[in-house]
Amino acid sequence: MTVIQGVKLDESERAAPALPRDILTEELVFNMGPQHPSTHGVLRVVLRTDGEVVHDCHPLVGNLHRCCEKILENLTYVQGLPYVDRMDYLGALNMEMGLVLSVEKAAAVEVPKRAQYLRVIMCEINRVISHLFAAGQFGLDMGAFTPFLYMFREREEALLLLNQVTGGRLLYHYIRYGGVTRDVTDDWLKRCLAWCDRVAAHMDEYNNLLTYNHIFLNRTCGVAIIDKSTALRYAATGPILRAAGVARDLRKDIPYSSYEDFDFKVPVGPHDKGVVGDSWNRHRQRLLEIEESLKIIRQAVAKLPSGDVSNPKISRGWKAPEGEAYVASEAPRGEISCYFVSDGGKAPYRARMRGPSFQNISLLGETSRGLLIGDLIALMGSIDITLGECDR
């Protein structure tokens, strides 16, 4: 067992043969994070490098651990919901979906159609917010600051849209068991459509400034390839898996919340540049997914049925009957799922949340071997992690 700076490191992740080295030099051990600008939070990565070349890389998580699952077990069903938001603070609505869907399935709660559509609209807006942030953040990691702020402009408008309905800008507490908290107005729907058009109009700007920038292409094409088999072995999901060429999207594969009603494509790598599963494809994947999300939002707004937005049977003191369920849904960073077990008590007996970032980071160790430090940043930026949801 190797112990570097008081950290026990994983031997199995180091099993691959050492890289060829022409000059015998001393290895450097870097402590990247928890306060490093590119670890996107409080991720700590211990690197062993030969100069700029990464020999191996050990992500160490847990700095933001709050034991969300224990909190859920200690609170009543209604009280627990605002906590789930705080897992992935950039895609909070999708996190709510993760818990709510499996509880609803276990307890056989019916959700009105209008509420389902509203959930879809809100979750897709949240996905666009998250992907804009991720794409901008990736540009920032690559040293391009300006596209980041351009994307924040559209993100800001989307935050206002969500604020108008849910009351929160980042942590929404909008989706409840059996429905949503609040209905939308026709005026809001118009604003939403106008926002969709604005984002779509700005996509070219992002692409020209960042995605198809020659320097950016050179830095990300063919760099840090996560191929299909690696992604599957590590259960990496979301844009990583799709950029690696697997057409896996739970919205299409195992539709939930009426996603089957909408017509959208699942973009799958390789895209027009680069190699399948490289950093550029993951970045492009996100931008293409934004476009698909906008399509879904437009359809959902057009088809929005009338009716109730919440299930009247669910009261404040509602308890799920005995039962269990496992439902996964597509969050911006991958598949969020909840293994929910109820014993009929006032709190969930067990609510095991799957943080997609948790599994996505775990492949950092294997994929980063032999990269330059700059490429490692590209890898981490294109994996797009949120530590709140990784550490839960």
Partner: protein, 158 residues
């Protein structure tokens, strides 16, 4: 020859991509900035905003419902008596804990606690962000006659 062509193409692409980038960013210099000048210009705060609470002290009957549903136990109520005649001695909300989830507004039988539009609360210590809403000097506390200057957030009451 092929290598030379690629080389020339790389040089050309470098110049071209720089030009394309500049044609996007430089025109922004002459456009109106998107940002707001915060203390002078207040961003659009929708009536649904879940900000700091607004409390109507004369309606409160000290039933403790809000304190019970609070996931983080940030509400402390001390009162003499119960029901319509209750005199609230303290109604403290500890904003260092508050999640702004608005769960406390839902069970209130008299609808006396609401989420308001205010979002700026700062202090040098943790004690400074504990607000006692029984203090009538507090601008966010309203007695029955006054009109609440903002649309009340009413979440679906289940």
């Amino acid at each position: 020859m092929m290598a030379l062509r690629n080389w020339a193409r790389a040089v050309w692409m470098g110049l071209k991509t720089t030009w394309i980038g500049l044609t996007i960013t430089v025109p922004y210099i002459f456009r109106r900035p998107y940002t707001l000048q915060y203390p002078e210009e207040i961003p659009e705060i929708p009536p649904t905003e879940r900000g700091l609470h607004v409390f109507e002290i004369d309606k409160c009957i000290a039933c403790d419902q809000c304190a019970k549903i609070c996931p983080v136990d940030c509400i402390t109520i001390e009162a003499e008596g119960k029901g319509k005649t209750a005199r609230i001695r303290t109604f403290e909300i500890d904003y260092s804990k508050c999640l702004f989830c608005a769960l406390c507004c839902e069970p209130c039988p008299t609808e006396c606690i609401h989420m308001g539009p205010h979002f700026d609360l700062v202090g040098y210590t943790r004690d400074e962000v504990i607000i006692d809403y029984a203090d009538r000097e507090n601008p966010r506390v309203f007695s029955g006659e006054e009109k609440i200057p903002y649309e009340i957030v009413s979440f679906s009451r289940k």
